[in-house]
C-alpha cells in the first residue's frame, strides 16, 4: 500500500480513528475562531502518517490530541496577525476532554452493523462494486468484466464507496452547530461549500 504502509494504516485504524469524533467535538468547542476542525484533523493525521515509528506511542488518544493542539498552534502562528482573542483561546486547549463521547460508545457497540448499514445505503452500482472488492476480495479488473463496465468505472465506484464511508463514519457534513462561529461554517458549507477561510 503506497501512501502509508499497511502496518501504519492498521495501527491508525485501531488506535486513532476511534477517537476522531471525540477530537472533532473537542475542536469544535475549543478551537479558535477561523480554524476549521476538519482541516486540523487532516493535518494531524498527516503528522501521524509521517512519523518514523509509532511504536513508542503508548497513549494514542492523548498523543492525537497533543498533535492536533500543535497543529492549531502552528495555524495561529502562521496567521500573521494574531488576535489577543486567539491567544486566549489557546489556553483553553490545555485540557482536552479525555472522556469517550457517546458517539464513540455507540460506534464501538455496533461498528459492524454501522458498516453494514453504510454499505447498504450506497448507490446500487457503487455498492455492488464495493462489496465485490472490499468484502469479497475480487480484483478491480475482474469486477469490470463481471459487471460489464470499464475498469475506470469500477475505480470510480470504489472511490465513491470510500468517500461514502468517510462521510458516514467521520465528517458527514457534521460541522457542529452549537456555537455561532460554527454556524457560519455550516451555512457556507451548505451553500455549495464556498470556503469559509479567513487568514492564511
Amino acid at each position: 500500500m503506497i501512501g502509508a504502509d499497511r502496518q501504519r494504516t492498521l495501527w491508525f485504524l485501531r488506535n486513532i480513528l476511534p477517537h476522531e469524533s471525540a477530537l472533532r467535538g473537542w475542536l469544535s468547542r475549543s478551537a479558535p475562531q477561523g480554524v476549521d476542525p476538519d482541516d486540523i484533523i487532516q493535518e494531524a493525521y498527516t503528522i501521524l502518517a509521517e512519523l518514523e515509528t509509532v511504536e513508542t506511542i503508548r497513549f494514542p488518544r492523548a498523543y492525537l490530541f497533543q498533535v492536533a493542539r500543535s497543529v492549531i498552534t502552528r495555524h495561529v502562528r502562521r496567521a500573521r496577525i494574531v488576535s489577543i482573542h486567539a491567544v486566549d483561546d489557546l489556553d483553553r486547549l490545555e485540557h482536552p476532554d479525555e472522556a469517550a463521547t457517546p458517539e464513540q460508545l455507540a460506534i464501538d457497540r455496533d461498528e459492524l452493523r454501522q458498516l453494514a448499514l453504510a454499505i447498504a445505503a450506497m448507490p446500487v452500482k457503487t455498492r455492488e462494486a464495493f462489496v465485490l472488492r472490499r468484502v469479497k476480495g475480487v480484483p478491480q479488473r475482474e469486477i469490470a468484466s463481471r459487471m460489464r463496465i470499464s475498469e475506470n468505472t469500477v475505480e470510480t465506484h470504489i472511490s465513491r464507496g470510500v468517500l461514502f464511508l468517510i462521510d458516514w463514519f467521520g465528517r458527514g457534513g457534521n460541522k457542529r452547530s452549537q456555537t455561532s462561529k460554527n454556524t457560519e461554517v455550516e451555512i457556507s458549507s451548505l451553500d455549495g461549500r464556498t470556503r469559509h477561510q479567513s487568514r492564511h
Binding site: L17, V131, R134
Partner: protein, 334 residues
C-alpha cells in the same frame, strides 16, 4: 493566496487515490502526479491515511458472512409496483428487530382505515398500489384510495412515504388542511403538537397545492434533498424550500432504523426527543448540563442507555426513580 481546497475536496481526492492505488501499481507518470498531490498541501497525506484506513475497515464486513446481503440492511426506499416483495419485507423486519423496534401488522389496511402507532412503536404499512408508509412513534394516518387519487391523511405524528409511480393517480398527502401531491417520491412529513408541518423530500418530487399558498397562484415544488416548514396559518408567508445535505437527511431519518441521531443538539433537546419514544422521562437538574451539546447515534427505545452514556461523558450522576431518569452534575456544583 489562491483558493484553498476545502477539507472535503481533499477527502474526495484521497478517496480517488485510494481507489486508484487499490486497482494496481501506478505508472511513472501517475506516480509523479500522486507525489505532487501528496505534497501539495499538509492535509493530504493525513486524508489519504484515513481513506485507506476506512477502506481497510470495510473488509471487516466479511465478518457478516459470505451470504451478507446489503439489501437486508436497507431502509425501505422505492417500493416496487407489484407491492412490497417478501425479501424486502423480511429484510426490513429483521433490520428493525436488530435494533429492538417492533414492526407490526404488515397487512393491507381497508379503505378509510386509520393506522396508528403507540409510543415507541414503528410500523410499516404497505398500501395496495405498492407504496408504503412507515409510521414513527405515536402517529396516525388514514388511507382513502379511489379512482382519481391515492389519498393519505396524516392525522398526527411523523411518517415516511415511499410512493410507487402512477402517472394517472397522484399520491396525495393531506396534513392539517394542506395537500402534498406526487407521482413518485420518498418523503417525510411531520406534524408534532407544537411545531409547524415539516416536509423533507429525499427522492423524487413533491408539489404543494397552490391553494395552500398565499398570493402566489403557482404550486410550489419540492425537489429531492430539500426541506420545507409550512407556516402555521394556511396562506401565511411561505418560505422557499431549503436544500439540505444528504447526510443531514440520513440523520433526520435515523428513526426509520429505530435510532436517534444528534449532532450538537443540546442535552435538553435530546432528552425531549427520547420522550417521544418511551414513557421514561430524562430529567436534567442542572441548566448548564442541559445545554451541553450531544452527538451520536442512539437506540430510540433505550433512554436509560443513552442517559448512562451521557452520565459517563459529562461526569454526571444518574438516578432512576420510577419512569424518571434524573441527571445531575457530579459534585452537585452548578
Amino acid at each position: 493566496m489562491a483558493e484553498r481546497d476545502t477539507s472535503r475536496d481533499i477527502d474526495q481526492a484521497a478517496s480517488r487515490w485510494t481507489a486508484r492505488l487499490d486497482r494496481g501499481p501506478l505508472n511513472p507518470e501517475e506516480d509523479k502526479a500522486f507525489q505532487a498531490w501528496l505534497h501539495g498541501d499538509p492535509r493530504r497525506r493525513g486524508a489519504l491515511l484515513r481513506a485507506q484506513a476506512l477502506s481497510m475497515m470495510s473488509e471487516s464486513a466479511q465478518a457478516l458472512g459470505p451470504s451478507f446481503d446489503p439489501a437486508a440492511f436497507q431502509s425501505p426506499r422505492r417500493a416496487p409496483l407489484a407491492g412490497l416483495s417478501r425479501r424486502q419485507a423480511l429484510g426490513w423486519t429483521s433490520a428493525a428487530a436488530a435494533v429492538g423496534v417492533v414492526v407490526l401488522g404488515v397487512g393491507r389496511p381497508a379503505s378509510g382505515a386509520v393506522i396508528r402507532t403507540e409510543r415507541g412503536e414503528i410500523r410499516l404499512a404497505p398500501l395496495k398500489d405498492g407504496s408504503t408508509v412507515l409510521l414513527n412513534t405515536q402517529s396516525a394516518i388514514r388511507v382513502r384510495y379511489d379512482e382519481g387519487q391515492r389519498l393519505v391523511t396524516l392525522l398526527s405524528g411523523e411518517a415516511y412515504f415511499s410512493v410507487a409511480r402512477d402517472e394517472k393517480r397522484p399520491f396525495v398527502v393531506e396534513v392539517y388542511g394542506r395537500r402534498l401531491r406526487t407521482v413518485q417520491a420518498g418523503f417525510r412529513v411531520r406534524k408534532l403538537d407544537h411545531d409547524p408541518v415539516d416536509i423533507l423530500v429525499q427522492q423524487g418530487r413533491v408539489e404543494l397545492d397552490a391553494s395552500n399558498l398565499g398570493g402566489s397562484s403557482e404550486a410550489m415544488a419540492l425537489e429531492a434533498n430539500t426541506r420545507m416548514v409550512l407556516p402555521e396559518l394556511i396562506g401565511g408567508r411561505t418560505e422557499q424550500p431549503q436544500a439540505i445535505a444528504p447526510e443531514i437527511i440520513t440523520r433526520e431519518l435515523a428513526w426509520r432504523e429505530g435510532k436517534l441521531a444528534f449532532e450538537g443538539e443540546t442535552l435538553q433537546a435530546a432528552a425531549e426527543a427520547f420522550g417521544r419514544y418511551s414513557d421514561t422521562r430524562i430529567r436534567i437538574r442542572d441548566p448548564n448540563l442541559a445545554r451541553e451539546p450531544v452527538s451520536g447515534l442512539f437506540a430510540a427505545n433505550d433512554p436509560v442507555g443513552f442517559s448512562r452514556a451521557i452520565a459517563h461523558v459529562f461526569d454526571a450522576r444518574l438516578e432512576q426513580d420510577g419512569d424518571n431518569v434524573i441527571l445531575t452534575r457530579a459534585g452537585g456544583g452548578h
